[in-house]
Symmetry: C2
Subunit: 476 residues, 2 copies
């Protein structure tokens, strides 16, 4: 059986199509190839040296086995699955669920084979209260999957403390133990301690893999498997893409080409990277990509003693919806964006447009056409309009949207990120700038003790308030 | 009774807070005030001359009366409301619904006073098929609100033709007549003709108001009223804001100040405008704003015979979610963004964080704190971290999220858009660049006849295919 594939199409960034000012000429492309080719063996070597353990997730069957084991223990009688996590502990779960389960999954019981699924990656009291009002009477049929490497993330810790109290109150001493699955560090940290202490079922976040690269670990696989996703196929798709993105021949390596083009445009004044799926199913893949790109590539760099701030800004759009919202700007606004469309060849299901009413002959040309043909035409029409205004366009082409192609896509963009990081000569695996806000939250929430050697959390909180408390003179 | 208010807070764009390089100095602010002050009487005069009819929507009680009349006719027995529309015929409806109804509205019947509501602003066959599978047996309890000024928008027309056929098949000759409400031009156009021919209930899209400015007309009010939103309060909120944004004193006019600051930053290298609500309810207001900003302000301008491409790029983010996704980039990436937070003082409901488990003393400082305090702290912490890196921040402060404040917010940003348009010296009310893609779609879908005087739609389709058909040489 030939598997469905995911491929990168890059003709519409070429100078042949959009002209020399904004397009990439043959010479430039050769130069990009020469420079990026040097990085391929480096990146492959790093991977073999164990420095990018996310690359090996498709080849660790014990991860999927552990996930399946916990799924087998809790799936019976589970009608509701709630993921409590944020950032890399949420966006992959949401993206996989939207991609691989029907639009009406949570509402139409005939369209689901697993529990309803909710992901809370925020601490909005009105939102969470609305959910708790509903779930309160169904707690014994609800599994809460709490995901946090450390367990000290303020959002997830607070959610966990609310849920724990509720479960203990409503279901008694075993309520917490029975209804919660912890996905966390294998050995240490606050959530691991809580899991051990309460004898929670638990899964492991692999060492050395940053949150945004964990979707193919237990972080993403547990909720996927609970909701009927074929996780073996997801991992096999990633492995199939691995073969391509490891190729030393630049011309045959889609991650290297994708990275080279993205890096080229960033350096040539197109600092915004718009990802625009023409598929509702792939909509939340754009949010997953936003984190991957922003946290990995938004970095301050020391360039010969001078601070340089780099990083393309990822922007999420959706076709056709945003044709009627953003395309005016995309065509007539500044030419500062690289567009990446996600296009699907076969939607699995289709719908034929009905006949035009007699009084509306002008709609006759739509009658009998399939909706997938309309969506495909809209994508081509938008791309055509952008090309007319010399805007560069990439397309990631999915034969179908299924677990195998979603696995390919995830792996393609993860490895692309590694390549772009190498081209920028930055470390794409850390996120140093996130810390200050986390510590500032701790301070404002009343944490005590030393923040730094010469500043307590209390003093720090005062400084933050002085900067952020409202000054009525500037309020209108 | 003092109403809840929406106010703009702008201290954290000042040079006092973020320094002279990225902040606005007192002198610069005075200069912005001088230049923008000149535009206030102009904009007020345009409005009095009837050139910006969106400004008068809060004062046309017959609109709300007509909406109420149709609601009264169809609400009984309506369990499902489906909006078919795109762009300005969808984003306002979605934004108002998310803002003013509970998170679990569509799932928990105890949390809703109206029908379930769905908005389809796309033509994804898998998504629409999933919905039709579910709704197919409930068509007699479903109202379809089709919204299109012309009725020739390919997406909405196709949806309508599918739904029409389905209703006729399943419910007989009256099915279409009974279950569809058309919101369209008062007199002419394809959808008006269809409505007249099939004797559909109908509402009017006001003359001279572009789609993105119609949320306070029947376009947005019908779905809102169906789902229990107090539309009088929504309109009263807009009118309350109108008083403020008409003030000739720059220092007291929040739209003028907001516009001046946005325009200043665009001209000073911050071409990205990030809107970041710290409220799930306000999340989709960011999508509504994205269209308003992008279509109104993304314009090619002729500057002394030279083409200039202007327009800030609106970017949607969500607090706290995107702290764990975008803040790394927002702090360490290029300083090319202006941030606008939406902050809520009183969430109506709140949740207290439970006690920390005994084995996790380190979480003790969170115990007993309200979730709203955490969310507020996260916002301040993030703002503080951005200010440390000299990133300019505005805040729109909501006392509460209710119909009155949502009306204020909508009107504030609509009028801000008019001011920014005037500062750029562009027409913010047209969208010329959207046409080409629409025509290209028609061509690819098989429309016949003349596209231009020397090109048929068939010839045009061939040209588009030549530009967009896949060339296997560039596919990897």
């Amino acid at each position: 059986m030939s598997e469905s594939e995911v491929k990168l199409y890059y003709k519409n960034v070429s100078a042949d199509v959009i002209g020399d000012e904004h397009g990439i000429t043959k010479l430039e492309f050769e130069d990009l190839g020469d420079r990026t080719s040097l990085l391929i063996p480096q990146i492959n070597k790093q991977r073999k040296a164990g420095k990018t353990p996310y690359r090996d997730l498709p080849y660790r069957p014990q991860i999927a086995d552990q996930v399946r084991e916990v799924v087998a223990e809790v799936k019976d009688g589970c009608e509701i699955l709630v993921v409590l996590g944020i950032g890399g502990s949420a966006l992959g779960n949401i993206a996989v669920q939207t991609a691989l389960n029907p639009y009406m999954y949570n509402i139409d019981e005939t369209q689901r084979t697993g529990p309803r699924m909710f992901v809370f990656d925020n601490v909005d009291p009105a939102q969470f209260a609305s959910f708790l009002n509903w779930v309160g009477g169904k707690l014994d049929k609800t599994i809460f999957n709490v995901i946090s490497k450390s367990g000290r993330t303020a959002e997830t810790a607070s959610q966990l403390m609310i849920i724990r109290q509720l479960l203990l109150e409503k279901l008694g001493p075993d309520g917490f133990h029975n209804q919660v699955v912890a996905t966390t560090d294998a050995r240490a940290g606050t959530l691991r301690n809580i899991a051990t202490d309460a004898k929670l079922r638990s899964l492991e976040i692999p060492d050395g893999v940053g949150g945004r690269f964990t979707v193919l670990s237990a972080v993403g696989l547990f909720s996927a498997a609970m909701c009927g996703v074929d996780i073996d196929s997801l991992l096999a798709g990633a492995a199939a893409m691995d073969e391509k993105v490891s190729r030393e021949d630049f011309a045959k390596n889609p991650a290297a080409i994708n990275a080279a083009i993205n890096h080229h445009y960033y350096n040539n004044g197109k600092r915004n990277s718009v990802i625009m799926p023409y598929s509702y199913a792939l909509k939340d893949m754009a949010d997953w990509y936003r984190q991957l790109w922003a946290e990995s590539l938004g970095k301050r760099v020391d360039l010969n003693g001078r601070d340089v701030w780099v990083g393309p800004t990822p922007i999420k759009a959706l076709g056709t919806t945003d044709q009627h919202s953003q395309v005016q700007l995309y065509r007539e606004g500044p030419n500062d964006k690289l567009f990446t469309f996600l296009q699907v060849k076969d939607f699995g299901s289709d719908l034929a447009v009905g006949p035009a009413p007699d009084c509306a002959d002008e709609l006759g040309f739509l009658a009998g056409k399939n909706m997938s043909v309309l969506l495909d035409s809209e994508k081509k029409a938008t791309e055509y309009a952008l090309l007319q205004d010399e805007r560069p366009c990439l397309t990631v082409l999915f034969d179908k949207v299924n677990a195998h192609t979603v696995g390919q896509f995830i792996y393609l963009f993860e490895v692309t990120t590694s390549f772009v990081g190498a081209l920028f000569n930055i470390n794409p695996y850390d996120q140093p700038a996130v810390e200050l806000g986390k510590e500032a939250t701790f301070a404002l929430m009343g944490k005590s003790g030393s923040y730094t050697s010469d500043c307590t959390y209390e003093q720090f909180a005062e400084e933050i308030r002085a900067r952020t408390d409202i000054d009525e003179d500037c309020l209108v």
